[in-house]
């Protein structure tokens, strides 16, 4: 299940809706409250975004035989502390759930058309892509740990 939403992400409600599989790994990314950002604005490419997220979730589901893969991504304006993204992977075994969850958050950072604009007081700037994000996504291209 993927969702792009302008409304706050209700992590507890999302967790409640998940099947009770053996292993569930989740990740929540929030607007950091500690680096002076007063507002974060998320722009996206309607249509292409949903397609990209579907592809990430489908790839994870197939590769790790997931019972469930969830990606929920916030768009629009949000405040420090609010959730930007929620990712969950439910599987029979823990390694599959943990790896699939890490894969999905790494991949969506490079594959899904979102752009962040940070406002600090009166100054707004578009966030630059980090080289580390590309490296994190690329490590899944050929992962020797996949079967561990």
């Amino acid at each position: 299940m993927i969702r792009v939403t302008e409304r706050p992400i209700d992590v507890a409600a999302l967790l409640d809706a998940l099947p009770e599989t053996g292993a569930l790994a989740t990740f929540v990314g929030r607007v950091r409250a500690d680096d002076g950002v007063t507002e974060l604005m998320l722009e996206h490419y309607p249509g292409a975004t949903e397609r990209a997220l579907e592809a990430v979730a489908a790839t994870a589901t197939e590769r790790w035989e997931l019972a469930n893969a969830i990606i929920v991504h916030r768009i629009g304006a949000m405040a420090p502390g609010e959730a930007i993204v929620f990712v969950a992977a439910a599987a029979a075994h823990r390694q599959a759930a943990l790896d699939a969850c890490a894969f999905m958050i790494d991949r969506l950072k490079t594959d899904a058309p979102f752009w962040k604009r940070e406002t600090r007081g009166r100054e707004a700037r578009w966030v630059e892509q980090r080289g580390g994000d590309r490296a994190a996504a690329a490590r899944w291209d050929h992962d020797p740990d996949e079967s561990s």
């Binding site: 397609r51 930007i84 950072k109 490079t110 058309p113 979102f114 752009w115 966030v127 892509q129 994000d133």
Partner: protein
Amino acid sequence: MLYFAWVREAIGTGSERIDPPGEVTTVSALIEWLAGRSAGHAEAFADRARLRAAVDQRFVPLEAPLGDAREVAIFPPVTGG
């Protein structure tokens, strides 16, 4: 055409209809042609290394052919998650 993030801001609009000449057959050539439309376009497209593109909602390299594309998007590297 669709523009996002600071590309959109520099150009001053998020979308526009265009009718490029027949010799514009790649994304790269399209960007070159678009850069002549206004000072905002020129500014947005000044540094090709900072631009990414999608043709009919699929990410492509700037060298990609346009083919019969109906929707081309130009934008900065993505920063979601």
